[in-house]
Amino acid sequence: MSVLAKKLLGIGIGVAIAAALIALYVAAWATSAPPTISAASGPTAAGVGSAQLTLQTVAAIGPDYSPAHPDWVSYLVREKGRWVHSTIYRVPAHSLVHITVLQYDGDSGLRNPFMAQVQGTTTGMMAVDGKSTDSINPEEASHTFAVPQLGIFVPLPGVPEEAPNQCEFAPCTLAQAHRTISFTIRTGAKGRFRWQCFVPCAAGWIDGNGGPMQTLGYMGGFLEVV
């Protein structure tokens, strides 16, 4: 083997290793996603299964969950007694899914007041702190849980500013000021549907609509019906 060939071989191997490392990094970046969290299954009644999904919204996700973006507004989901930072939820098909949202964020108001109307729940209503209602004042909206392709739009009223013991960042506890919103949806056929928030809740962004509003894992995700 000539010196040139040896040199070229060495360079070739070096380039190949570097390329492989870069490719691995890019692949890891491209396929990274929040974990998929399954709703806890509940009792079956009259042949219809049920599941329970418990969510939390916070004004700031905090450095524990997101060192790069501790101030971003976010959803969290409860799994086996822990709060997990994810917006990809798996629910059973053709079932009743009871969703409870613990709302810790203050109000910022809807961009389109029309989204203050509850749509697509089994009764057309939701319960806010136990009280049944079919809409809220759009000014009081903090977030929405909306799955447009399934026709589901649920506005979530915010915690009043003057309430004591506000939660600063996730995870928030039941002792802190919050509102509890619960509603039930009936899932249909299998599919993967995006859900999002319609309140411009991303502080510091143009129109309140950048950053967490446009990043998977914060204010939007997928509802996997399986």
Partner: protein, 635 residues
């Protein structure tokens, strides 16, 4: 201590490795680039004020990233040695082109003012980013295998689309001008160098810095806007958007400088006797492209500067509630953007018309018509940009004008086709690999051009605007136009540039697999667009899955055919190294009359041009052999 007495005339021997690493070279450039990056980053974090409150809220410091990129680029260029010349002139020292004289492989990895070295640097550098952008396309097509995909997330998908588009549209603007015009224009016009050799080197290293910056977007969250960077989505995006802005602005600077350099070189450095009517058609196409670059790219730099100011210091050029208008960005962008697509297409025209006479053994048919076609396209391309805004709600009354101007641009483009057809008439064509790529261009650009008529017609555009139809159209004109001629140029000129033949069997496999897979990929995209599939979506109507799977598989075949090309290059240039003949195509062009490798100063004596460039064919002139059109060099 070295005790051996030094010879009286020191042989330029190799200095020890550590000594060679100190100085103005790529290593220093990277170190200074990183240092500049962190200095910018640090300054950016120190800036405070009421209008920067949003930085604390968003956890994203666009100011710091912009400054870091700028600092990094400055450090990188200083490290390469671009500051040496201005500083030594300021200190009153004489000018020198010492960078050019350096020998060995090392000169390919630093600032070199030899236009032939810059050409090869461009070829490899652009090839690298073309490869990366191609890999992005493979990931995009993998995603679209399924109507509700889970392969990559929605954020990453848009980033991939944006990186693929920006890299192809940004870096490949220099796809032919970078490698081939830099290498061959000075030779073809009988010059020893480009007019501004240092600026020539600068355009290349700026482009490399830009490409690296764009790739770094994945560290900052990517960007969602695609290559058009439309406002106000641009302003809502995370820091990865800054990578796009700095990238495209640097590309704009590189293009402007490259264009200026080309214009001055072609106007001022032509050899005696090389009148405008004797200029090779490829040089004409380079000139036309350079004019477009110089006139269009500054508009892009301006628009992106405004976008950068909006994102960092809270100006409101494009924000409605602050009195700005998104239409402003659309107009500025497309005033650059439409000439830009002709910047990509025109050099391809030049390559095809330059190569056809060689392989048909005929003079170029309709030389003046071809030149008129290129200049007509150059002129008209500044009057069509609002056809990108046919449904935007702006200037509805002007639509008939833009429809007319857009359709008029097909007249000069038609000239090129007539020249191709006329040159083929009763030819003695040799279907070598470069010729096959030229034929491929003719077919692809025909489809691209005819589909463009649908887009120029406003009623028809209402259906196809923003759909996969547009996507298929510009891939036919740019990939089918630029990339096919890029490969034609590679196969044609590599024997001159490297003195080595590329393997013909592998080259033919490359051509046929690329040509068939290309058409099999993009032809169905016209149908998908007409069936209502919008561009840049990561989910689509399930009834379109069959065609999408077909397209994806064809796209993977394109990827494989590119691997055949890479294998051919590695095999032919590294392993086989079959020496090329001095003039394997029997061309009469000036560059083929020079020895291989081309001497540093090209010509010992500047030639005097006495003939037209394409004196092929039997009846009119006796077949001159040797060095036609050139006074015997070297006395």
């Amino acid at each position: 201590m070295n005790t051996v007495a030094e010879p009286a005339t020191p042989v330029p021997g190799r200095r020890p490795l550590w000594r060679r690493m100190i100085g103005f070279n790529l290593l220093t450039a990277v170190i200074l680039g990183v240092a500049g990056y962190y200095i910018g980053w640090f300054i950016g974090h120190e800036i405070k004020g009421a209008s920067f409150d949003f930085i604390d809220d968003t956890d994203e410091n666009d100011v710091a990233l912009m400054l870091a990129y700028i600092g990094g680029v400055i450090g990188f260029l200083v490290g390469l040695g671009f500051a040496n010349y201005p500083f030594s002139r300021m200190l009153g020292k004489p000018a020198s082109l010492r960078e050019k004289e350096e020998e060995g492989v090392g000169r390919y990895f630093g600032l070199c003012t030899d236009h032939k070295v810059v050409g090869i640097q461009y070829l490899v550098g652009i090839g690298l980013f073309f490869f990366i952008a191609g890999l992005n396309a493979m990931l995009i097509r993998t995603q679209l295998l399924h109507p509700v995909p889970t392969f990559v997330g929605p954020n990453q998908y848009l980033s991939l689309v944006g990186m693929h588009g920006s890299m192809m549209m940004g870096m490949m603007t220099s796809g032919i001008l970078g490698p081939f015009a830099n290498y061959f224009v000075p030779i073809m016009i009988g010059a020893r160098r480009m007019a501004f050799p240092r600026i020539e080197a600068l355009t290349f290293w700026l482009l490399m810095a830009a490409g690296f910056i764009l790739t770094s977007t994945i560290f900052f969250g990517g960007f969602p806007t695609g290559w058009t960077g439309y406002q106000p989505l641009n302003e809502q995006a995370v820091m990865g958007m800054d990578s796009y802005i700095v990238f495209f602005a640097l590309v704009g600077v590189s293009m402007t400088l490259l264009g200026l350099n080309m214009i001055v070189t072609i106007v001022a450095l032509r050899a005696p006797g090389l009148t405008w009517s004797r200029l090779p058609i490829f040089v004409w196409s380079v000139l036309a492209t350079a004019v477009l670059m110089v006139l269009a790219a500054p508009m892009l730099i301006g628009a992106l500067t405004m976008a950068a100011l909006d994102r960092t210091v809270n100006t409101g050029f494009f924000i409605v509630s602050a009195g700005g208008s998104p239409y402003l960005f659309e107009n500025l962008f497309w005033f650059f953007g439409h000439p830009e697509v002709y910047i990509l297409a025109l050099p391809g025209f030049g390559i095809v018309l330059e190569l056809l006479p060689v392989f048909t053994r005929k003079p170029l048919w309709g030389y003046r018509l071809g030149v008129a076609g290129m200049l007509g396209v150059t002129l008209m391309s500044f009057f069509v940009w609002q056809h990108h805004l046919f449904v935007s709600g702006i200037n509805a009354a002007l639509r008939p004008f833009y429809m007319l101007s857009t359709e008029i641009i097909s007249i000069p483009t038609g000239f090129i086709f007539l020249c191709v057809m006329g040159t083929l008439w009763k030819a003695r064509a040799r279907f070598t690999v470069p010729m096959l790529f030229c034929m491929g261009w003719t077919f692809n650009f025909l489809i691209g051009g005819l589909s463009g008529v649908f887009l120029s017609d406003v009623p028809s555009d209402v259906d196809t605007h923003g759909s996969f139809f547009v996507m298929a159209h510009f891939h036919y004109t740019i990939m089918g136009g630029l990339i096919f001629t890029f490969f034609a140029a590679i196969y044609y000129w590599v024997p001159k540039m490297f003195g080595v033949c590329l393997n013909e069997k592998l080259a033919k496999i490359h051509f046929w697999s690329l040509f068939l897979a290309f058409n099999s990929t993009f032809m169905p995209l016209f149908v998908l667009g007409m069936k209502g599939m919008p561009r840049r979506v990561s989910t689509y109507n399930p009834n379109l899955q069959g065609l999408n799977v077909w397209v994806s598989i064809s796209a993977f075949v394109i990827g494989l055919s590119m691997l055949v090309f890479i294998a051919n290059v590695l095999y032919s240039l590294v392993i086989a190294r079959v020496p090329a003949e001095a003039n394997p195509w029997d061309s009469k062009s000036l560059e083929w009359q020079l020895p291989t490798p081309v001497p540093v100063n090209n010509f010992e004596r500047i030639p005097t041009i006495e003939n037209d460039p394409y004196e092929y064919g039997t009846p009119l002139t006796p077949p001159p052999r040797g060095a036609p059109g050139m006074a015997p060099a070297g006395g």
